[in-house]
């Protein structure tokens, strides 16, 4: 935790106090956090930061910061990572991953190299494959069901630390 605090501190040394016993209310804006080396190349970095921030705007207090890294570490259990993964991929935060969310995800992943029809095809396929309750979008149960069978989820996803 000390190391994390060190990192947090060095991002904005004039703002972050070294002494946390008085529980100060300090938040770092999103721009600073996105530039951290672990997150810099990640296409979902804004979403990650947003989903961990208390106010939904993307500013992280130290507690949120620690929270984020504890989920992103290798020690976090699979269910926890699945929960946060769902939140991250849900761009419009309606607790469902709808087609628009999928399209946004795909675009971020491929940096918009796919054509529009390819995008729609892929999104349709995803919904078809994973949607269990037939509502045309992925609820958390669908997502969890699909992710729990994925062999690579733990290895590649959410292991920044």
């Amino acid at each position: 935790v000390y190391r994390l605090h060190g990192r947090y501190h060095e991002m904005a040394p004039n703002v972050v106090p070294m002494d946390y016993t008085k529980d100060p209310d300090v938040k770092l804006p999103m721009q600073l956090i996105i530039n951290m080396p672990e997150l810099k190349e990640n296409p979902f970095k804004e979403r990650i930061v947003e989903s961990f921030s208390e106010d939904g705007e993307g500013s992280l207090s130290f507690n949120d910061f620690v929270d984020m890294f504890s989920v992103l570490s290798e020690m976090a259990p699979r269910e926890l990572k699945a929960i946060y993964a769902f939140k991250i991929y849900d761009f419009n935060t309606d607790n469902f991953i709808c087609k628009a969310d999928l399209e946004k995800t795909l675009n971020k992943l491929t940096r918009e190299e796919l054509t529009a029809e390819e995008i729609t095809l892929v999104c349709e396929k995803v919904i078809e494959e994973a949607d269990m309750d037939g509502d045309g979008k992925l609820g958390f149960a669908d997502f969890e069901n699909m992710i729990s069978k994925a062999p690579d989820f733990l290895r590649y996803c959410f292991n920044c630390v």
Binding site: K40, Y89, N95, L109, E118, I147, K149, A150, Y156
Partner: protein, 860 residues
């Protein structure tokens, strides 16, 4: 923090209440807490944190309400006195309260341990954690009854300390893992597949280190410390003829001269039964260490394979979620380098495009005959190459034997064997790749074929090498008899001559350097292996240096003044060849295993090699390699490499076992000299050192009559276990199919109601006019055969049908998947027929089945 203090004060007030006759209140808050904990734990699966937070907030407000009630009802006491007053008043705690307390404490403990899994905000987690910990601490001490209390508290404290110690130790261990930071750096630049090579290298290093420790500690050190020193015995001294050149570098480089007569090789060891004041049985130790090297390696490899198999229990053929997985799990979060990220994006895009193409393509309309012909042709070519290379090696080894008899051999002739083998290893794999282009396989399968062929190449080389070596050994054995005679005559002659000189005293012993030496075939074999290993090391390093580093420098610097773009075009930067490197490592290890019995120092050389190779390759990768074009995943290949390692281990065990069992050891060198067979050392030890009954036991055990039934028993056990595992796999597949069918059915229930209708109509048309019996059986049979062929691949068809191919197939898929549903809801007689005919009926045509049923019966 205020919240927390309030909560802890509430605890105190609760505990205060215990003493006052307010049991009811306490119990109710207790129960409330229990309920809360239960809910919190059950609530793990609640998807949204907002819901949870609101839930918790509710509860907290309720709790606060109660708190205020309590505060109003009595004075606040100081929290510090609670502990002491607890201990004094514990006698007033009744049995039930104790039990409830214990439950509470257990629940809190569980909460603490599962805290990590909860998707709460950090602040909340911290506060709940602190509360739970305070509660546990306070009441744990109180749980022990009476006299046992102190012991209980002590036990708890020790348990806690032990947990803390274990955690610290784990932390320490993770810090101690060598090269962890280096490997993580490589991983972030190149992805996890390249890093997996380095992890494999590190694992190998660990294994070799252990082997080296074994050999060094149990064989080399005792001989050096307690055995006869250099020069005291014939086997330990350089023969007079060679002494002039013994220190030359070229001789040393060939591992002749002083090195040949040192503890690195078999020939140095004395066959004295026990050495030193400890009575250390060196020959026995040598033999046992040789065997345990193989035993330990086998154990370690199999354990690692089992661990890998456990981790990858997720089935590979569960490709129901191809696109979903691609979308959600393809980004490698460990990438921290922009270049790698670019590559990753490109590879993800390519992978999506590929899957889309796969999806859109129906059948590959290919000429199957042409394909088969090409594949056969390619295989024939490759087999020719393999045979050719095998013969080449054999030929070269034979030539080197004739060379060794000649006097003035150039450097090339001496090292010809190694050079040829290394060259083959360098040029054949690309050749195989170009030939494999004929075969036109899917890249993953193509890679496996390629690895298999390279493996066969190296294996063939190795075995040809061994065969040539065996010829050499046999020759030397024949020579030995001759030399034995010569030695005897020389010694005799020496004695006679000294007697003639008139000395009465015992003749001075012949200077060890002058004694004619027999050809020590084990040492020769050892030397050959060491030379092979060293040349392999050199070739690898030089290849990396030239192939990667110099090439990178060339491309980088000459690019400014070259016609075409070197970086994008022909040479460009090298990619890290994972499979080639891993195979090289595996084969190197095989050679080490083979040679370590004859050259105990070989493992030490290998340890050094792995160490330098780790640093060298890390540096080379970071400085001159570029990430792969297709950043691929390292998931299942790991067991493949372990499997190769295991295979090589067995194959390298064979020659050593053969020589131990059937070749006579040299008469004048090594720890087994003078015996007829090497394994006789065991018999000797048993006879002389162990009490009598042990010898009897061993002689009974070694009876073939006992061993053969034991082998039979093991074979039967293997067969049984295999059958059991197959049954489990089948059960697994069945369950999966069922789950899948249920899924499809759920989906189709909601989505494809429309598409079942045409199917229903079709069937209705077919069945309603079939009141006449002639048309019935035919149609019914048609329907029966058709559905029966379809019902078996229902699982896979369901998947293919569902994605919206033709609506007809979709309808069929839908129509065939409800059978389980139908089984449940229909009366049995119809249910039996349902898979064939009746599925569409229950949907919306209740009058339909009735006439159908009547008609259906004559079908049986």
């Amino acid at each position: 923090k205020d919240k927390e203090e309030d909560e802890s004060k509430e605890e105190d007030s609760c505990s205060q209440q215990n003493r006052a006759p307010r049991k009811k209140n306490y119990q109710s808050t207790d129960e409330k807490k229990a309920e809360e904990e239960g809910d919190q734990q059950r609530g793990k699966k609640v998807p949204t944190k907002e819901q949870k937070e609101s839930e918790n907030k509710e509860r907290k407000t309720n709790k606060k309400g109660k708190e205020e009630e309590n505060k109003q009802k009595q004075d606040r006491k100081n929290s510090t006195s609670s502990a002491s007053s607890n201990s004094s008043d514990e006698e007033s705690l009744s049995e039930e309260e104790l039990e409830m307390l214990m439950e509470e404490v257990e629940q809190k403990k569980k909460l603490i341990s599962t805290m990590r899994n909860k998707p709460w905000r950090m602040v909340k987690k911290l506060s709940v954690l602190r509360e739970a910990q305070a509660f546990v601490e306070k009441f744990e001490g109180a749980l022990g009854k009476g006299k046992g209390k102190k012991l209980y508290a002590y036990k708890m404290m020790m348990a806690k300390k032990w947990v803390k110690f274990k955690r610290d130790f784990d932390n320490f261990k993770t810090q101690c893992i060598p090269w962890e930071m280096k490997i993580k750096e490589v991983e972030s630049h190149f992805g996890s597949s390249v890093a997996s090579y380095f992890i494999f290298l590190r694992w190998m290093y660990g294994v070799n280190l252990v082997l080296f420790g074994l050999i060094f500690g149990l064989v080399i050190i005792p001989e050096v410390l307690m055995g006869m020193p250099y020069g005291s015995m014939p086997r330990k001294t350089v023969p007079r003829a060679e002494q002039a050149t013994a220190m030359d570098f070229s001789v040393l480089w060939d591992f002749e001269g002083y090195i040949k007569y040192s503890a690195l090789f078999y020939g140095y060891y004395n066959n004295q039964r026990t050495i030193g004041w400890l009575k250390y049985r060196l020959p026995m130790a040598y033999f046992m260490v040789g065997i345990s090297v193989f035993g330990y390696s086998l154990m370690v490899v199999i354990r690692s394979m089992a661990r890998n198999a456990n981790e990858s229990t997720a089935d590979g053929d569960d490709d129901n979620f191809i696109f979903s997985w691609k979308m959600f799990t393809s980004w490698d979060y460990l990438i921290g380098n922009p270049e790698t990220a670019d590559n990753k994006f490109a590879s993800i895009t390519t992978s999506f495009k590929e899957s889309i193409v796969d999806e859109q393509e129906s059948n590959k309309d290919e000429n199957i005959h042409l394909r088969r012909f090409l594949r056969v042709l390619a295989n024939v070519l490759i087999i020719c190459c393999l045979c050719g290379s095998g013969y080449l090696i054999y030929f070269v080894v034979k030539r080197s034997q004739t060379f060794s008899k000649m006097q003035n051999v150039g450097w090339y002739e001496r090292n010809e064997v190694e050079i040829v083998m290394s060259l083959l290893g360098m040029f054949c794999p690309p050749l195989f790749e170009t030939i494999a282009a004929l075969e036109n396989y899917h890249p993953r399968i193509g890679l496996k074929w390629q690895l298999g062929r390279i493996f066969a190449l190296f294996l063939g080389n190795l075995y040809t090498f061994l065969l040539a070596l065996m010829d050499d050994v046999n020759e030397k054995l024949a020579e030995e008899d001759v030399v034995k005679n010569i030695t005897r005559w020389t010694l005799l002659g020496h004695h006679n001559s000294s007697v003639e000189n008139g000395s009465i005293a015992t003749p001075p012993p012949l200077d060890p350097a002058d004694v004619p030496r027999g050809p020590c075939w084990e040492t020769t074999v050892g030397i050959e292996f060491v030379r092979l290993t060293v040349s392999d090391i050199l070739v690898t390093f030089i290849t990396i240096l030239v192939g990667d580093f110099i090439r990178a420098c060339f491309v980088r610097f000459v690019n400014y003044c070259w016609c075409w773009d070197l970086e994008a075009g022909f040479p460009s930067y090298a990619e890290f060849d994972i499979s080639g490197n891993v195979l090289g490592l595996v084969f190197n290890q095989g050679m080490i295993w083979m040679g370590s019995f004859y050259a105990p120092g070989l493992v030490g050389i290998n340890v050094l090699r792995l160490l330098t190779s780790m640093y060298f390759q890390c540096w080379a990768v970071m400085s001159s390699n570029v990430p792969h074009e297709r950043v691929f995943k390292a998931s299942k290949s790991n067991n493949f490499y372990m499997g190769l390692l295991l295979l090589i281990l067995f194959l390298s065990l064979l020659p050593v076992a053969y020589t131990i069992m059937s070749l006579p050891p040299s008469f004048d060198c090594g720890p087994f000299s003078g015996k007829k067979r090497m394994y006789e050392v065991i018999q000797e030890t048993i006879e002389l050192d162990f009490p009598l009954f042990v010898a009897k036991i061993f002689s009974y055990v070694a009876n073939p009559g006992l061993i053969i039934p034991a082998i039979l028993l093991m074979v039967l056990a293997i067969y049984y276990l295999n059958a059991v595992s197959e049954a489990y796999q089948r059960a697994n597949a069945e369950l999966k199919k069922k789950m899948q069918m249920q899924r499809e059915e759920e989906k189709n229930k909601r989505n494809n109601k429309a598409s079942t209708n045409p199917m229903l109509e079709d069937l209705e048309d077919l069945l309603t006019p079939s009141t006449k019996s002639e048309s019935q059986p035919k149609q019914a049979e048609d329907k029966k055969t058709e559905p029966s062929t379809r019902s078996s691949p229902v699982g896979k068809q369901g998947k293919a049908a569902a994605p919206g191919g033709s609506p007809m197939t979709g309808g069929r898929g839908a129509a065939f998947t409800p059978p389980p549903h139908v089984f449940v809801t229909q009366p049995p007689p119809l249910g039996v027929r349902a898979p064939y005919l009746g599925q569409p009926r229950p949907r919306g045509y209740p009058p339909g089945p009735v006439p159908g049923r009547g008609r259906g019966q004559p079908f049986y």
